[in-house]
Amino acid sequence: VAYFQNRLKQSLGIERIAGGADFAVCVIDYLMPEMDGLELARAIRQEKGPATPPLILFSASTPSGADFRQKVAGMGFSAILTKPAKSRHLLKALSDAVRADAEGKAPAPEAKRQTTDAACRPDGTPLTVLLVDDNRIDQKVGSKILVSLGYKPDVVSSGEEAARACFAEHYDVVLMDIEMPDMDGIAATALIRQKLPKALQPYVVALTANAMARERERYLRSGMDDYLSKPLDVAALTASLRAATEFLADRGSGVWAHEMGDGIG
């Protein structure tokens, strides 16, 4: 293992690599002063050509833009690791990269899997989403939109089912229809807010076909985090899910904190 911390040392690193020092794998930080991880990767690739070792990008921010991930995959990174990285994730990325290299192919499994528009958790997987709507067609439309964005939504049809689902399993985001018979979206959200510990609370987005400004205030006051009108607008939904990611990261979502607990970054 060799560490190179800044541009001068990176240059030395490139020279060492170019000069024949063979590393089995290079783990490269993304955000570094002067020369970032992508530039460094390009420089290494220029020097080593086909003999370039597997590269793993190490990044403090979850890369979110699809073009960023495509760029990273296009540069031949075997994996993207988000800081702080769990030791087993790093180990897996390292062993996958070395194995792929030994087998003579240059796949980018992690980077490729992430070429979606989905907002991601710190471990790089899409946010977990529960869609709640009693209207079958809206369920289908909403779930097709979410799937096309890269999420794997669970779908339920009532406020009671929504609350039960949230108690049984952790969801990062709940897309909650307001107008439902029996227990409506506001009552279901109140129940979830009341029963779940703060650190495990989902980000709740109200969905409604009755779009009125004064209603919006009421939803936010009753414990919902955001509001979207139906028919759903993909750009607005995407923005809301990004906001959810930031909100959960800032709060230190209990589930995320647990996942990051054995981090090494």
Binding site: I137, K140, I145, V147, S148, A209, P231, V234
Partner: protein, 123 residues
């Protein structure tokens, strides 16, 4: 393509096709759901109206409004929205008349959608 009348607004269907990811088979499936389910919602309105069940009337009108909007049935959506609003405010005086008009418009929307060739909708 042009539709015979303005019962269905194509831009809404184009938009729907786009938001669900552009797969026409998915759009056909959704249209089938609407065509299959809309008469039931009208029947629910009629039953709720006869039974004087305002909550059920509001709900059925709300659901059909929402679905009609998705598929570009703008007049049907507006009629349902009006019935929903009146019903929510407890101000429905001529429910059977409104529902009869909605039933007629729903049938037109269903027929138009059923005859639509989704291949003609530009992505």
């Amino acid at each position: 393509m042009a539709l015979a009348d303005d019962t269905i607004e194509l831009p809404a269907l184009r938009r729907l096709l786009e938001v669900i990811g552009g797969d026409r088979a998915d759009l056909v499936e959704l249209i089938d759901d609407f065509v299959g389910g809309a008469p039931e919602l009208v029947a629910q309105m009629q039953a709720a109206s006869s039974a004087g069940d305002i909550a059920a009337l509001t709900r059925a009108a709300h659901t059909l409004k929402s679905n009609a909007r998705d598929f570009g049935a703008v007049r049907l959506a507006a009629m349902c929205a009006e019935l929903e609003r009146a019903s929510r405010e407890g101000a429905v005086f001529d429910a059977p008349v409104s529902i009869a008009a909605i039933a007629q418009e729903e049938e037109k929307a269903r027929t138009t959608l059923g005859a639509l060739n989704v291949e003609d909708i530009e992505a």
